[in-house]
Amino acid sequence: MAHFTCEVVYRGIFQKNLAARICRGIVLSSRKAGRWGIAFGRYGDSPQRNGIPAKDFAIVADTQEELEQNMARYEPKEVDVTICVDDTLSKGVESWAWYGLQPINQLIVPNGTLLMTSLQGPAELLKDIHRKETPYSLALIPAKASFSGLWVYKEDHTEARALGALAKLQPGFLSLDAVCAAIREAEWGSELKAASARKAHDRLETLAVKITEGNRETPFSFEKPKWWEMREGVTIPAIPVGKPMEGGKGYVPERNPYFKKFTTRTMRPVIDFDKCVKCTLCWIQCPDSCFDVTPDGLYDADMESCCGCGVCEAVCPAKECVTMVREDAFEDNASQWEMWRKDKPQYTAWLGNKIKSKEHVVRSHGFRFRGQYEQEIKLEMDQGGIEITAGIPGENAAGKQR
């Protein structure tokens, strides 16, 4: 008797279909060897919001009886493999569904695997991934995060590559042939996708992570109250009013201490305080009240409560004052205004470094104008990308139109 449990940690909405396809693929691939499986999304993650960390699971077992032991629950207690399809989630995840910050590797069993899509190297990633008390492996599929919205699916073969990589990690449960067969049979499957799975299988590199390695920060957490400690009448205290920042000047709103939101972020605003015209628009329009008013009348985005929606950038009338920058360019949530106040020339250099890099300011999700998707496709093709639209709809999908 044996079973295999896998979670896919993804960005709500943007990667909803990707995660679902990976989990379905795991079950369908294992079925080729007669195994039984279940694929499900974490119920508490629904309804999803743009970018919010969410999870899907796949469990396969030798027998239906063994599978039953793992059914009728929202979330497994431990997993053999965590698949993370956006490397900015390596900073930890906080969803609707649990409380506090959950390190990306939290559920991995001793000597299990964290499989990530990323263009960063292990050393870079381990600056963000929290230390774990037991050793595990880090396996990397070189790829940028496959983002699309709820209504579109980016046919970049990420799901096929994840399944191919998983066949390398867990050959006892999913043979590469079984994965390829399941991909071919899937609605959007194609030979090209099966080839992508094989490539990912053959090229996968894994690295042992020691218990001494990783981000040493203690993740934010709290205890859930007992029933008799909770307020009655389904009531919760409101967030109190804020306080001046210092010397009776400025304003810092009180924020929900139990839900910080920042792990929802894939891009963050970087502010050039020297260009700020103090128009107040970012402060007023921010849907998460994440701006502190500084004593000198500037607006400093609190990085624990910013979910990276980009509204501040959109409403800012000053040229190049607010710029959205990809989250993987940062290692902490430090205050930009404090940095600026302390050493202006150094801040200016830091700022320039962040916003000048093309890689950093490419929009990671969503589109800012009509036709941006076509522009991106062209850019990628010019850079040597492969035309894959031939597979859309895939051979099997065409068959289903009958």
Binding site: W227, W228, M230, R231, P237, A238
Partner: protein
């Protein structure tokens, strides 16, 4: 129409009470005036609408100052008072039959939000067929949700119970809604002599509603009813369960205080016992069904038959221990339901199966016979009473319960 009578009836003790000839609904409105309610919502449906008319008249005559809001339906009717209660208003609401059912969503949210709403249910058969007569299924539909449920059988009891209901519901240990059930027509539309206490006595008995830490007010900034996932729901249900359990003590205390201040009211809040001391057969039924049964019992007692009646008042919280103890001496029990529960165990009504469940671990389990009677307001006759009693005596003799539920007063 409410007419104040000039001569106090013989045998009344509380001399400063006013005596009035009023219906059960008007008695409720008298109590609401004495309780000085703040917000009342209304939407007409027979037989509850008699209460809303009586309150409107009180306000129009300047006897009661309250917000009187005519909603566009029962759903809004119950929502409005729920919110008003949350900001600290003493509220009243009510309905009947399918009107009560239309408010069901609001009825479900009221107990978890710990809103001490008092509602009057003028019991009415559920559609279809559209009918006005009494059945108890309307109020019973909320029996599992955290509503406290009580049935009364006279206009006097309606008045007293309305005052008691505010005292119990608004106790911080409880904070749960109460529905007072009154049989349509027999109680809501029939006028009898009622003793109405003075405001001074009521003020002594009923403190102002204090929502305390749950008050929705700028000085107490809270969020009410946020969405919660599986990490919170069972704890909230557990709190609700605890509040209902605490109600047992609070009800006992309230009735004791009521007797002390008003000089009347039952020793036993939970159920009325009539000629049960030496009874071999105990009959049970809620609401005005007690009236023909009491007459029948007196007639049978005159013939030497040892039969008595237990009329449950409180159905939620259910007085399990006390009721089981009271039923222990019986040789047979006959439960008469003015409701139905199609497809239930033995096809019995709701009350009979509750009593069966309560008796399961009792030391003695006398034969229990279940009857369905008086649906849709069909008159319960003395013949029905005698038939029930005869069948119970047969079971007492044989020691066996006929499991099949019997329908009485049906043309067949």
């Amino acid at each position: 129409m409410a007419v104040e009578t000039k001569t106090p009836a013989a045998g009344t003790t509380a001399s400063d009470d006013r005596e009035m000839l009023i219906s059960g609904s008007e008695a409720c409105a008298e109590a609401l005036t004495l309780a000085d309610i703040d917000v009342v919502t209304a939407y007409p449906i027979r037989p509850y609408d008699t209460v809303m008319q009586a309150i409107a008249k009180k306000i129009a005559n300047g006897l009661l100052v309250a917000e009187y809001i005519v909603a566009e339906g029962e759903h809004s009717q119950f929502e409005i008072v729920k919110h008003a209660s949350t900001v600290g208003a003493r509220v009243f609401c009510g309905s009947s039959g399918v009107g009560w059912m239309y408010a069901m969503e609001c009825l479900t949210v009221t107990p978890p939000l710990r809103v001490p709403m008092v509602a009057m249910v003028g019991n009415r058969a559920l559609d279809d067929p559209g009918a006005f007569g009494v059945e108890h299924n309307d109020a019973l539909s909320v029996r599992d949700l955290g509503w406290m449920l009580i049935w009364v059988d006279t206009a006097q009891e309606m008045l007293d119970t309305t005052l008691l209901a505010y005292r119990i519901a608004e106790d911080r240990r409880v904070f749960l809604p109460i529905a007072i059930s009154a049989d349509g027509a027999f109680l809501t539309h029939s006028q009898t002599i009622v003793q109405v206490p003075t405001k001074a006595k009521v003020d002594k008995f009923l403190p102002p509603y204090n929502r305390g830490d749950l008050l929705l007010h700028p000085d107490n900034p809270i969020t009410v009813a946020p969405q919660a996932n599986e990490d919170w729901v069972i704890e909230i249900r557990r709190q609700n369960n605890e509040a209902m359990n605490r109600a047992y003590t609070v009800i006992e205390e309230a009735y004791a205080d009521f007797r002390r201040i008003f000089g009347r009211g039952p020793e036993n809040p939970w159920f009325e016992e009539y000629m049960t001391e030496d009874a071999d057969v105990i009959l049970m039924g809620m609401g005005t069904i007690s009236l023909p049964f009491k007459v029948g019992i007196r007639n049978m007692r005159a013939k030497g038959m040892k039969v008595g009646l237990i009329r449950p008042r409180w159905f939620r919280p259910f007085p399990t221990d006390r009721l089981v103890a009271a039923l222990q001496p019986a040789k047979a029990i006959g439960v008469i339901d003015r409701d139905y529960s199609f497809g239930s165990p033995f096809g019995s009504g709701v009350v009979a199966n509750e009593i069966r469940a309560a008796m399961y671990n009792a030391e003695k389990r006398p034969p229990l016979l279940s009857f369905i009677c008086g649906l849709g307001g069909r008159e319960v006759t003395l013949e029905d009473v005698y038939k029930v009693t005869d069948l119970c005596f047969e079971a007492a003799k044989s020691g066996k319960s006929p499991l099949k539920t019997q329908w009485l007063g049906v043309r067949e």
